[in-house]
Assembly symmetry: D2
Homo-oligomer: 327 residues x 4
């Protein structure tokens, strides 16, 4: 379903080439200062325009529909709309019959019996992450002074990001990347035993983001090759500070007071300028597809702020839970 | 919270050294044949006893408390208990004041204000995965003929598993591993757009399992170093069959009819026989901890059937959702 | 929280004097014909204008933001906005300090620490029922051919409705009423055992509607004075048809195939033209309040279509559940 | 589904004539003193034995399976079992083909395709309310010092309860009743706007109880015949105290600090000793049914403590929500 969270509950809606995309957040505490300008910093970090990102330009102006009175949250549902303006739907007309490899065209077509909005990926568009980033802005205010940062560790296999962009430029192909997200200042005790572990909720939300192929916490996949004696993080003091952080800030699904740390793998953008083989649903035969439209060469470049938002949303939800049950 | 799923809803309860651990499943369709013997195969795969696993021996006999009449499910909640028998709680008495590195002792202690059951990790014990495996047995019946298998790809960095076990034997240390899980026969259309993508739900449940540090679908972390032209899986026919399977069987969060494929990283068992530095909560100073008790050298060895169960549980839940909404 | 339902999930948002009120429905099946004109009939039944209703005039034009493509539902979240136009917020300025008896001014003020939007009741306004009616239009399409009707049994204690309106006109006071809702064509089997009985879900949603004070199913409160021999409905044939319908169409929380039948009590509108005693929060003393603004003399008059909507929403949610689990 | 609540979450399971009925509560705060003896008082109030109640005798000894360590709650799921002992299943053998009027035999048979446990009503038995009462004991501890009481206002249309019992004794027929429940000491602010109003949650849970036909808050159905000027409760002081309590302690779905007050109608027990007409599913014709087994003449007599439990459970859930969001 299109909602996430138990107390800080986020719902998203909209389509890439519809009239608007938007979000409703239920459970925002009253009295938080919030105005359209608060969103500008994070929205601009997500926005396209830099080398390697799509030339589609959207103003991304948040229109606050409900939940605010005199620039303070009221405690009622907070609704924000982003109108779509720079839409070129004719680019996508042919995709109804020739599903793009790597996209949801085929699966959404089947699941929704041919009624899914095909324009720009419809509800499956990466543009939906705009709603996540907006929700993240609100969540960050709630969880202050927790500090969340993300960085691109590599794209196209290179840690020199500019070098990777220069290499792919003009080829018509796309590249992926690895992003690391950290959060500090988290109290001990966020996360629930078993099904709602901190890792469970973060991974749940992170895999909502299109193009994510993997996630690892702390030592991650390297843990598989470590010994217990080196992997266990010695506890140094009563605050829970540990000498190493292989745990990624989480033990038993619960925050341990150290830095929360995870990395994700982002696949290369599925929309590429090269001809591809795919099925023609009308003829039932395969043929060559040449995708038109405007796309990101490396969607990973726009991912850091989205991961920060996802982290903030989970922490906002867990913080309330913690507040309500046991912290 | 201790429940998972929207329609096929699983709740688990119990502690490692309490009277029993158990599960309730709400949403089991009526008329499914089910008796205690149906659980034996999967439970024995999870059970300890082989080299590298704990010498704690539990009979793991499922006691069906509700939801069955004349060996058929009734549609009412299905409750199963596993009594704990081989309990040596005195092993854990000292852990109240000296939290074990890598375990939930410190975080659970803080979160639950000192009231958490410390014996054998209490509710945070790996023994809780017994409930997952039992639920998996029921889920597998529901999603038949979907076929789920898991295999150990490596432990301790070795693909020769016996060699890895021999190397760690007698050292008092522990090793981790990587497990791959695949499921075939899944129809196109399972998974929901955005928040309840198939990856989101699987990763949510998989990270409930103690000791998991990472998960990747299809190409996984390798995707970060691939180009779009090689990563996109060409669609071959109207069933959705693709030439390659970098997607891991999922596009846009929805099953595409190909094999579902994911891998997880399992950390080395946190309980080791070597002396470790940790905090003494009474003195507020660090000291040396020597863990007694019985433990697995390589918990990854017991993981394959648990991952299969997690996969089956998600598919059972998604299958119903799909059945109810759009498939 | 501001959402209802498990599969057909409705969220509402907005304030009486904000920019708009609206709704998001998650779980609408794809392929249902839907356009703005489909809402006109039910919205007009809820709209004010007749004798006994508020002179506030709103066009109530639904603006479909998402979830529709070529006038068919897509399966993605359906979002509908109703812009507020005829707003006179100055009417409510004084209510910040003098809470109106019978309204949520005092409780919302406390709960939301003074940040709740006070204008026209804000999120607590009866105007929010517009979202329910709109959701009901969609739900009715899903559950067709179930037929739901409502009728006013009495207002102001009179079954002659015009007589009651004439008696209250010009007095500045308000009156309540009793409404009956029936639904026919419901299959046997909707409703879940115990917590999600059909009565539980219907009453849950009905008590969301402002001004409802009671609900009874079938024989209702009269059942308390009946004997079992007269109350039990004899089953006549294999369709489940019963001779009498004291059950109100539900046994054990599950629809029995007969007419679903319930009645609700609606209190007299809290906003009246008469002077009332209330607390002045500034002085801490009681004083006389004279409510300005425009209000309904008898809110029960606008209730029938709202109750139909509530019933349709529950049936849509239950129908999906039934479809997914056991019917 | 068989669970209720968002934070204080209750799941129930079991069948009347199965091995046990039980409950799991997720979200119990740690550190609450709890032992089997704490349940005795409320369980004895629900238990049969007095005139007008079934001669079936169950010891109703709570067996705490999980969530307790050293007689304090741990914060992990609390599981309690009640074993069924005094079971006479042969009494119900014929009911598979002749559904009892007023019971769930017909609807459960259809919904669960003939697989529902028919013995004593199976999962639809009034015996399931034992789980509610047990959960209520825990909830009452959490919400202390809120004080909840219930009283029987009338049975069989008589306020003299003994007179009503004497009149029905020996007739083989059954009678219903009206129960009033009040709760004092509730802080202002419990309940959520719109869908999770206090009335919505209470009525949701109350209609889970078998035999309830109606519920009304405060003035209830009488409100339909009152004028606004008399129905509005004047607010007297800053604590929210009102002169009258037509609101039943709730405004806008949120507790207003006054006494919470509601009444329910209980139907006459469906199982009666008189011959009844019903369908014979084998022949497809109607015939006469003579119910054997042991039953309550007036189930309303056992209802007060069940309603208290339901109220406490809702308040425990709302209290946490309030704690986490805005109070």
């Amino acid at each position: 379903m299109n909602s996430f969270g138990r107390i800080f509950r986020l719902s998203v809606f909209g389509e890439s080439h519809g009239s608007a995309i938007g979000l409703v957040i239920d459970g925002v505490p009253p009295g938080i200062s919030l105005s359209a300008s608060d969103f500008e910093h994070d929205l601009s970090r997500r926005r396209s325009g830099a080398q390697g990102t799509t030339p589609r330009k959207e103003a991304d102006l948040p229109k606050i529909i409900s939940g605010i009175y005199k620039e303070k949250t009221t405690g009622a549902p907070l609704t924000i709309l982003f109108e779509n303006s720079d839409v070129r739907s004719s680019d996508y007309a042919s995709l109804l019959t020739t599903p793009r490899p790597g996209h949801a065209d085929f699966t959404a077509g089947k699941k929704f019996k041919g009624y899914a909005d095909p324009r720009g990926g419809g509800h499956f568009s990466g543009r939906m992450t705009l709603a996540l980033v907006a929700a993240g802005v609100v969540a960050k205010k709630i969880i202050a002074p927790v500090n969340i940062t993300s960085e691109i560790l590599e794209i196209g296999g290179e840690t020199d990001i500019q070098k990777a962009l220069d290499a792919i430029a003009g080829t018509g192909d796309s590249i992926g990347g690895i992003i690391q997200c950290t959060a500090s200042g988290i109290p001990v005790g966020l996360g629930e035993p078993f099904f709602d572990s901190a890792e469970s909720l973060i991974s749940h939300l992170v895999f909502s983001i299109p193009a994510i192929k993997g996630i690892e916490f702390g030592s991650g996949f390297n843990a598989a090759r470590m010994k217990g004696g080196e992997h266990n993080d010695p506890i140094l003091d009563a605050s829970g500070k540990t000498l190493t952080n292989n745990a990624g800030g989480i033990n038993g699904g619960i925050s341990n007071g150290n830095e929360l740390l995870f990395r994700v793998a982002v696949k290369p953008t599925s929309s590429i300028g090269l001809p591809q083989e795919t099925l023609d649903l009308k003829s039932g035969k395969t043929g060559t597809l040449q995708i038109q439209g405007r796309h990101d060469t490396c969607i990973a470049l726009r991912m850091p702020v989205i991961l920060e938002a996802a982290t903030a949303i989970v922490l906002a939800d867990l913080g309330f839970l913690a507040g309500s049950s046991s912290l």
